[in-house]
Symmetry: C2
Subunit: 310 residues, 2 copies
């Protein structure tokens, strides 16, 4: 039987966000939603999450039409995870105004057997004990990537370290990598993280792009140059979705496939920030995606002469 290519576990939320370009109220969001909205352009993806009775499931219809399996989003009694935040001008910082966990507080999913055999698993940013519990239900995934955040690093470091002993790749942002390791140099921070377990570390740096630290090799990709950033919410999860959506189409995971996964992650992150919610990710097509891949190639490639190639 063919294995399921890609599964994500994460939050399915409602977001109210204000940026210099406007605001949205209770729009669809959450790590699993952004991840699915990005990855579904590249691969079938199954989403495991939980919502309350108030969730506008019809707004996920576009995702379903593009091949995302949403059947494992449980509907529970209570309210959906709600997050509200406001970005400073220039997006240098953001204030969280409200976080209401709602039904997400007791989220601890059972993985159905057709997903337990997924080749690729993304553990979105949720409690590390829940991430571990999900991972333990899997049957030999080929690559497991997990995200986390400063809150879990502060509050649940032991459980996070236990999880890290079991995953292949930790994908976090630069400030989280520094907080987790106490090391400001990102090369050295990644080596410390590799000591915790993961073979590889992806460090996301927002507009400055992202770094991949493998065993004995590294890859750096800059951010695409965008005229207008509307809302950075979900950029990291969209990056993860592009990264794993690409990866899950690959038969084997080589350094070359990780490099291209970083490229697709960057491209999907770039679309995500050009609108509120998943609006832009909903309407892009394959041609636009491939155009940005080419753009990133143009942005970064240089030809060495005979002198440098010696």
């Amino acid at each position: 039987m063919d294995r399921n290519p890609l599964t994500v576990v994460g939050s399915v939320a409602l977001d109210s966000v204000q940026t210099q370009h406007g605001k949205i109220e209770r729009a669809i969001g959450g790590s699993a939603v952004f991840f699915a909205a990005a990855s579904c352009h590249l691969s079938p993806v199954s989403t495991i999450g939980i919502v309350g009775e108030d969730y506008p499931m019809e707004k996920l219809e576009g995702l379903r039409e593009r091949g995302a399996d949403l059947t494992q989003i449980e509907k529970a009694k209570g309210k959906s995870f709600f997050w509200s935040g406001e970005y400073s001008e220039n997006f240098n910082s953001r204030d969280t105004l409200i976080t209401e966990l709602g039904v997400f507080e007791h989220f601890n999913p059972s993985i159905p057997s057709y997903l337990a055999n997924s080749r690729c698993l993304f553990l979105g940013n949720i409690h590390p004990a829940v991430q571990t519990n999900v991972l333990e239900q899997m049957e030999g995934p080929e690559v497991v990537v997990c995200d986390t955040m400063n809150y879990w690093i502060d509050q649940n470091k032991d459980e996070l370290l236990e999880l890290l002993g079991k995953v292949d790749i930790l994908m976090i942002n630069d400030s989280e990598a520094r907080e987790l390791t106490g090391e400001s140099n990102l090369l050295n921070a990644s080596r410390i993280i590799q000591g915790f377990g993961p073979d590889s570390v992806v460090i996301k740096k927002g507009e400055h792009g992202a770094l991949f630290f493998g065993l004995e090799w590294s890859f750096a990709v800059p951010g695409l140059l965008l005229e207008k950033i509307v809302d950075p919410t979900g950029a990291g999860d969209s990056f993860a979705g592009g990264f794993m959506g690409y990866l899950s189409t690959q038969k084997v995971f080589t350094p070359d496939s990780y490099r291209m996964a970083m490229v697709y992650g960057t491209v999907m992150g770039s679309f995500a920030v050009e609108s509120f919610s998943i609006d832009r990710l909903e309407v892009i097509n394959e041609e636009e995606i491939l155009e940005r891949v080419s753009e990133l190639r143009e942005l970064t490639s240089f030809e060495m002469s005979a002198r440098e190639s010696l």
Copy 2:
């Protein structure tokens, strides 16, 4: 007659610097010194500057041996430019403790005729009126690059804008680009700067690398991944030295030559930060330089499959 390839005008200073890795007292520094220390590995370079009677010219002997022309460093009555600063742990910020301009306060050089015909000119970070005065003495330079800093943006903006109408490339760091334009998005900031005059803009982002904005094309290069950063002082000038040292070896200035110039700039900046003063730049050889060029290529290259190359 062959034209002189490359001339730099800038400060020749004494620096006292403290970082988490130690301190130096009155070591050689200044924009023209870092620039020459980097560029002399790639091209002959002539340095125009001024020092006081206290300057340890013998410490520049290594530069001279590697082909830097130091005959246009004027020795004047008085004290040399002295700068003292201290970096925070992690190099996130630095405090200037002392700035004594000394003889540099009245620096307004006359350019000798054998340098007035230089193909490439770098106007280091000095008063924009002095930069303009130097530029006006040149005879048809093929490419003029200038640096500046927040102080001149604040205090002498009109003179800076006058200068920008006459140069080919402005090379500044990201915070300066934002301050100069009032625009936080670096793509849009670079377009505003191009409106001031320069065809191209180089924006340096420290550990995050650098961006080149040309007419209708851009290039991004990440920083090399370094295990140990000892002192960031002079990184930007060393970047400029690598950039222009490479450029001055090129017969014509094409996008490809600017891309490689960015690569050499990044490589030279990476050496500069691995020691105090120009210590590391003094001892590197061609092989080490080419190794880092290759390393940067490895760090950034990715192969598109047939699908992406369509």
